[in-house]
């Protein structure tokens, strides 16, 4: 087991190194001079040079890559070109929006998916199951930004139950914070819940065919009881895998929804930073997200190996 962990750890570090090189190289060729962007139409050449110098844009690519990498190892992500504040601080601020949003959406997704899947699996062949499965098909097919637009129109502009967007800030109280995250979380959760429902239902139905369920049924448990008491636990492995994947997706994949609701989250930070050519911010946030995904995968791998020793030898 230790050998396996070490092996995976080395490969994790290698992946991170490759990822950092890819990100840095990709952004090296982004056209557009950050200094020219910041100084605008009437900037003079010497003014531009002064600013480039201050931003540290004059070193060679290798030097800049090196300092970026070594900085990150110390938790120093550099200074934003446009905002002139430490990138780490900015990311920290944004995480207070993105992380709760991702968790909120994930929670909603589970809250919808678990009962729906259990219900559908226990009423196999009924109209009810057909209804649930039809809804999940719709949930997967609906573009979430369109769904978000419709929700803003109905719940924010017309009914005025929720703010149309923006983030109240946690210092305004938990309630106000959650209120501003509700519509975005619903928009994000809908497709995720649909996928989760489908995966979970299939997993439940698979285990229902297994011998131990038959035994349980033979002992007089109803189909629903057998599902809840025995099948659920066994169906959790694929479900947890999907939840893990969805979490890292939600962390990074909320860009469009963050834009619809103008939430100051990580996604919008990157989006703005790209158009402002604040490359150091783009590099660092993308790196952080990649790190998060790789870490989640690593944990999932370890968890599997722990559960099922046969997996240790191979992938």
């Amino acid at each position: 087991m230790l050998r396996y962990v070490l092996q995976r750890l080395v490969s994790l570090c290698l992946s991170l190194l490759v990822a950092s090189a890819v990100i840095f190289l990709a952004l090296e060729i982004v056209p557009g001079d950050p200094a020219a962007y910041m100084l605008g139409l009437n900037a003079q050449e010497d003014t531009l040079a002064a600013l480039r110098d201050e931003l540290g844009l004059n070193g060679t690519a290798l030097q800049r890559y090196g300092s970026w990498l070594s900085g990150m190892l110390h938790g120093d992500f550099g200074i934003s070109y446009t905002y002139r504040t430490p990138v780490a601080e900015m990311i920290g601020d944004r995480l207070w929006v993105s992380l709760p949003l991702a968790l909120f959406a994930l929670g909603l997704s589970c809250l919808i998916a678990f009962p729906a899947a259990l219900w559908a699996a226990s009423r196999r062949g009924t109209l009810g199951e057909l209804g649930v499965m039809g809804m999940t098909q719709l949930g997967i097919a609906i573009p979430n930004f369109w769904f978000a637009m419709l929700m803003v129109l109905i719940f924010a502009v017309n009914l005025r139950w929720f703010p149309a967007g923006g983030f109240a800030g946690w210092e305004e109280g938990l309630f106000a914070g959650l209120k501003s995250l509700t519509l975005p979380a619903v928009a994000l959760a809908l497709p995720q819940a649909s996928i989760l429902t489908r995966v979970m239902r299939s997993a439940l139905l698979d285990t229902l065919g297994e011998d131990f369920i038959r035994t349980a049924r033979a002992k007089g448990l109803t189909r629903g009881q057998a599902l809840r008491r025995h099948a659920l636990r066994n169906a959790m492995i694929p479900v947890l895998t999907i939840i893990g994947l969805q979490f890292s997706f939600l962390l990074a994949g909320a860009i469009i929804i963050e834009n619809v609701f103008f939430l100051p989250g990580l996604g919008r930070l990157v989006f703005q930073a790209i158009s402002a050519r604040d490359l150091i911010v783009v590099e660092s946030v993308v790196m952080l997200l990649v790190f998060a995904v790789i870490l989640v995968n690593f944990t999932v791998d370890l968890a599997y190996a722990w559960v099922d020793p046969r997996l240790r030898g191979r992938r």
């Binding site: 490969s11 290698l14 992946s15 490759v18 990822a19 890819v22 990709a26 952004l27 060729i29 982004v30 056209p31 196999r124 062949g125 098909q137 719709l138 997967i140 097919a141 609906i142 573009p143 930004f145 369109w146 637009m149 419709l150 129109l153 502009v157 239902r201 299939s202 139905l205 698979d206 229902l208 997706f249 962390l251 990074a252 994949g253 860009i255 469009i256 834009n259 996604g267 990157v270 989006f271 790209i274 158009s275 783009v282 993308v286 997200l289 990649v290 995904v293 790789i294 995968n297 191979r314 992938r315």
Partner: protein
Amino acid sequence: MRRNLILGTGLSAMFAGAALLSFFWVPFDIGALDIANKIKPPSGAHWLGTDHFGRDILSMIMVGGRTSIAVALVAVGIGMGLGVPLGLAAAVQRGGWLDEGIMRANDLIFAFPSLLIAIMITAVFGASAVNAIIAIGIFNIPVFARLTRGAALGLWTRDFVLAARVAGKGAVRISCEHILPNLVNLLIVQGTIQFSLGILAEAGLSYVGLGAQPPVPSWGRMLADSQTMISFAPHMALSPGLAILLTVLGLNLMGDGLRDLLDPRLQRGQR
């Protein structure tokens, strides 16, 4: 479950047919703007109304469907064209350096948040339909590579493959002649699903302005254009949204139906 297949194929065929028809005929020319007639609700002449430039929305949806379908189709093509050979190659020697390398590269691509990378690609090369295709295509490669490898590994242990090996056929020949034909059903099913995901992805990218550029219409940009007008002209936002929803729904249903039809073993409780 034939009902899924029929409903799904019907929906997909309707939108594909409308897109094809638009090459020869549309109700109104979408190149000619008619500002005086802008934002008109549905009427006898304009079944779905007109947009903010006075263009016929039905015609826009027909032509926009070409963009969505073409982008998604080529992206899936890229994913299959590169992913399947890579998956086949990886399966030849399980755990070998090639397998390891390909699978590691796959993991790496999966680790990148796809939308962010798409945005970065367009930041580097500019926004265009081609770059949207590349961005979506890249993330299709590991999907197909993984799927192909997984299924091919199973096939390599089967008797008919062993027989071919004994007969002295090389790995490349076996992969092409014996493994690949057995994967076709699986690939068609996955291809349909990736196709529907591609349509959603294209809509998302052009919604944020990174897909096909004007004057080429696209569903995502129609939604973006309609966004500020949704409160007084909901017809502008409803039709493109429904077009995306129904196309994706149709493709997903078709994929499910095909899976049941082509490979009973894959049914997994789908009845």
